[in-house]
């Protein structure tokens, strides 16, 4: 295997493991803040993977939107819904063996499907820059979803503001 391949393997597995471990921490940690930051780890590792897969626009989007936006938001939520005092918020979870069993079966099924992919999947590498293509596509083929999304975001904005404001007792 050439040096390049080895390097690729190393990068992939590094990212994969960090993603796995941090998602494990999200699933099982009891401390609220620790879960939040482990989610951060997951997001970053996935951003790396996107980069690995030459989806550079998505690498950037992932970091900007997910990390910059959603994670910050979640942390805000945690801070707002728990008293500041006890940072180590208890994050109990009712884990039961059945749930674990179901999840494992699900994992096994998904792995089985992954391994028995039909041969017709062609392995071809796209080497054109992604962003330019996405820009064209956004405004040509998938113009409709783009417009709908804009409307959706507006609605969410208004909705979120409305839901979160404090009741004005007349």
């Amino acid at each position: 295997m050439s040096l390049n391949e080895i390097l690729l393997n190393i990068i992939f597995y590094a990212l994969a493991l960090t993603g796995l471990f941090s998602s494990f921490m999200v699933a099982t940690s009891t401390n609220m803040v620790r879960t939040a930051f482990s989610l951060l780890g997951v997001l970053f590792s996935f951003a790396g993977l996107y980069g690995l897969l030459r989806a550079d626009f998505l690498f950037a989007a992932q970091i900007l939107v997910y990390v910059g936006g959603i994670l910050v938001l979640i942390i805000f939520a945690i801070m707002l819904t728990h008293k500041i005092a006890n940072v180590n918020l208890s994050n109990e979870s009712t884990s039961s063996s059945t749930v674990i069993a179901v999840v494992c079966i699900l994992f096994a099924v998904l792995v089985f499907i992954a391994l028995t992919l039909p041969e017709y999947i062609k392995i071809n590498q796209r080497n054109k820059p992604l962003t330019e293509m996405i820009g064209n596509n956004l405004l040509s083929d998938s113009l409709l979803p783009f417009e709908i999304l804009s409307v959706l975001l507006l609605a969410c904005l208004i909705g979120a503001v409305y839901l979160a404001r404090k009741e004005v007792k007349e």
């Binding site: 391949e5 393997n9 994969a16 993603g19 998602s23 999200v26 699933a27 879960t35 989610l39 997951v42 993977l49 996107y50 897969l53 989806a55 998505l58 989007a61 992932q62 939107v65 997910y66 936006g69 959603i70 938001l73 979640i74 805000f76 939520a77 945690i78 819904t81 918020l89 994050n91 109990e92 979870s93 039961s96 749930v99 999840v103 494992c104 998904l110 792995v111 992954a114 391994l115 999947i121 062609k122 392995i123 590498q125 796209r126 054109k128 992604l130 293509m133 996405i134 596509n137 956004l138 979803p145 999304l149 959706l152 975001l153 969410c156 503001v161 409305y162 839901l163 979160a164 404090k166």
Partner: protein, 107 residues
């Protein structure tokens, strides 16, 4: 041994399935609304990964997968904002965010 370079799709799929299962697990077991939200984020990310791997390795134009990924990201953002707004609303009304206690909408 199935190295990434030889079998990139399989590896990636296994990874995304794992993260997917973790997401499911968090959703089902967590009692805190916010952590459920985090589980949802995990699931969405694993799905995104799938999309992008397939867009990279299957789709000859290599664009539709990514497009969907973008839209998923944007939607995740919108969904997260609304979910958190709801959670804050609940918190203000009930004082706590524990999912098991929120049963006022029972039947």
């Amino acid at each position: 041994m199935l190295w990434f370079t030889k079998y990139p799709v399989e590896n990636l799929l296994i990874l995304s399935s794992a993260v997917f299962c973790f997401g499911i697990y968090t959703i089902v077991t967590r009692k805190n609304a916010v952590s459920i939200l985090m589980g949802v984020e995990l699931v969405l990310n694993s799905v995104n990964l799938n999309f992008i791997t397939f867009s990279q390795f299957v789709d000859n134009a290599g664009i539709s997968g990514n497009m969907v990924a973008i839209f998923v990201i944007v939607l995740a953002a919108a969904e997260a904002s609304v979910a958190l707004a709801i959670i804050l609303g609940i918190y203000q009304n009930f004082g706590r965010v524990d999912v098991d206690k929120l049963t006022s909408l029972r039947n």
